[in-house]
């Protein structure tokens, strides 16, 4: 018997026997129906999911404990229409006794919050009406983004149809250098694969470099699998993952890894030690180059946060660079902790004081500017460096604005320099 990829292994254990096209589940390419362990939606995608759920005419959700509703995109409500969408989701949560409904004051960005709360364990299948649901793959779960109709149906049935994906292996070798983090590794991966290089496929990360990567780095890596078109971004659940989950869940937590001899359509080997801090230039996440090559590029705004880089480790890196320095007078620097607990830790560790001293603004957790929602929308002719995940034309506001993607070290250094900068330029 041949070995299984992580994706095949997890989906095989979740295949429903009476699916619409029940066939041997362990082969890439099969269309199967799977039982899902967690169903996720947010204030933008839940309203349509709720409408579709209602159209099914079922009495209740399949399991109130397995549904998570997170009001993170346009909250605190940015306008009347957004308030009404959040209100609709709130009412649905109440009606169906959905305990995992997170609202202002308790809400974090879903892909930061979910894992902090221990709602995902290795080997599970997670579906979410948000493309960055793939973040949970960092814990060895098969997590994938879907649309609202899929989620409306999954809330009713606890199931989803899926094509078992082929897998692309990304071997990360060596140890990352100074100021190089998960963001640089995933941007380099996307540069090599292209924005559609992993379409329909699962990206499976492995290799000796994993040992040196924190969970924060791993979440960042899994998070942007979708930016190469990936259906999922999977990492093995090893000692680091188990240590992260310790104390966060009462459920059984077991290691999971791909089998020896699993079949991959392609293997990409990346020598991590050779990577420098990088940026992705407008208007595609694949336009990646070392930040040192584009140092004269002026910026108007720096955003540090998001589901990609809004964890406490990210804020610590930014604070290390901003401590005792000042944000450039022509730059608005906006720091957005990914969750209330990240924000509280940032307060307790003195990071918030560091940011405010430096002349940065610190916001409540929200997706906000990442998708041009609020809290830092760009006008025509403006350019932002951002630790977010997409730099499509108009993503952060005006069609005539630009977004440069970077990790927290480059974003913080650039905020000080007023232009794209290597962290070593401002630290030395």
């Amino acid at each position: 018997m041949r070995g299984l990829t992580l994706a095949e292994k997890i989906l095989a254990t979740h295949r429903l026997p009476d699916g619409a096209s029940a066939v041997d589940p362990v082969h890439a390419g099969d269309l199967i129906e799977v039982a899902v362990d967690l169903v996720l939606a947010n204030d933008i995608t839940a309203p349509i999911a709720i409408r579709e759920f209602a159209a099914l005419g079922v009495a209740g959700v399949f399991d109130p404990e397995s549904i998570v509703l997170v009001a993170d995109h346009f909250t605190p409500n940015k306008d009347i229409a957004s308030a009404e969408q959040a209100s609709l989701m709130r009412a649905f949560a109440k009606r169906h006794a959905i305990r995992h409904h997170y609202d202002v004051g308790r809400v974090g960005i879903e892909h930061v919050l979910l894992h902090e709360l221990g709602l995902v364990v290795p080997g599970e299948v997670i579906v979410g009406a948000d493309s960055h649901t793939c973040t949970a793959g960092a814990l060895g779960a098969f997590a994938t983004g879907m649309g609202s109709t899929d989620i409306g149906v999954a809330m009713a049935t606890g199931a989803a149809w899926m094509r078992v994906p082929e897998s692309i292996r990304v071997e990360l070798r060596g140890a990352p250098g100074e100021w190089v983090g998960g963001k640089d590794l995933i941007l380099e991966t996307i540069r090599r694969l292209g924005v559609s290089g992993a379409t329909y496929a699962a990206l499976e990360f492995g290799g000796s470099a994993l040992d040196a990567l924190s969970m924060a780095d791993r979440f960042t890596i899994a998070n942007m699998a979708i930016e190469a078109g990936g259906k999922a971004g999977l990492l093995p659940a090893d000692e680091t993952a188990l240590a992260y989950l310790d104390g966060r869940t009462n459920r059984a937590v077991e290691r999971i890894a791909a089998d020896e001899g699993a079949t991959y359509t392609r293997t990409l080997t990346i020598n991590v030690a050779a990577i420098e801090p990088v940026v992705a230039l407008p208007h595609l996440p694949e336009n990646v180059c070392p930040v040192g090559e584009v140092k004269s590029t002026r910026i108007d705004q720096a955003v540090i946060g998001s589901c990609t880089n809004g964890r406490i480790e990210d804020l610590r890196i930014a604070a290390e660079i901003l401590r005792g320095r000042r944000v450039h007078p022509d730059v608005r620097c906006i720091v957005i902790p990914g969750s209330p607990s990240v924000q509280l830790a940032a307060v307790r560790e003195g990071l918030v004081e560091t940011f405010l001293d430096a002349g940065a603004a610190v916001s409540t957790p929200t997706c906000g500017p990442c998708l041009g929602g609020h809290m830092g929308v760009l006008g025509a002719g403006e350019r932002a460096v951002s630790t977010t995940n997409r730099n499509f034309r108009g993503r952060m506001g005006s069609l005539d604005s630009e977004v440069v993607l970077a990790g927290p070290a480059v974003a913080a250094a650039s905020a000080i320099a007023g232009r794209l900068a290597h962290p070593a330029e401002v630290i030395s």
């Binding site: 269309l31 099914l56 229409a81 969408q85 493309s131 649309g147 199931a159 559609s196």
Partner: protein, 175 residues
């Protein structure tokens, strides 16, 4: 299922922010979304698209966010089918779930496509025909399951049918 219509041509990597910018995501009203459809790429599209028109695109159509508002906006604009060299996975899935026909045609002769041409798509036979030039390109037809979803009018209607037939794997698991 054969679909014939006038085409609108777009390039590669048409992202969901271009199809429907996030500033309109505070609504899920299809008619309102249609008013801003593809506004990031062609401001004239929403005002001039007619019921039954087709969209032709390059690689990676619909990349980016999972927002179903994107295929919903296209569907509500009256577009009858989207034909592209390739689609981003979530967009592809969303379109089928909504009952919006969508065709992956890797050999699509995009360089011969001009907005305004009449094209015909035969979903069962797997043929895209450029009626203006008389050229035809084959594509892999949908597997039976996806064809069943489309015929039912999307995933919700399909699932409703399964519920009525008592054919649902109703799981009652407690975490």
């Amino acid at each position: 299922m054969t679909i014939a219509g006038r085409i609108w041509v777009f390039g590669a990597n048409v992202d969901t922010d271009a199809i429907i910018p996030a500033r309109y995501l505070h609504t899920s009203d299809p008619a309102e979304l249609a008013r801003h459809c593809l506004e990031g790429l062609d401001e004239g599209f929403a005002g001039h698209v007619e019921a039954g028109d087709l969209i032709v695109g390059g690689e990676n159509f619909g990349c980016g966010s999972s927002r179903e508002h994107a295929p919903l906006a296209i569907q509500a604009s009256g577009v009858a089918c989207v034909i592209a060299v390739g689609f981003a996975r979530i967009f592809y899935r969303n379109a089928i779930n909504l009952g919006l026909p969508i065709v992956v045609c890797p050999d699509l002769p995009l360089s011969e496509a001009r907005s305004g041409q009449a094209w015909t798509v035969d979903l069962e036979r797997g043929r895209v025909r450029n009626d203006a030039l008389g050229t035809e390109t084959p594509f892999e037809p949908f597997p039976p399951f996806m064809m069943a979803l489309l015929r039912a009018g999307g995933l919700t209607a399909y699932t409703r049918g399964r519920i009525a037939a008592g054919d649902l794997p109703r799981r009652r698991t407690k975490r």
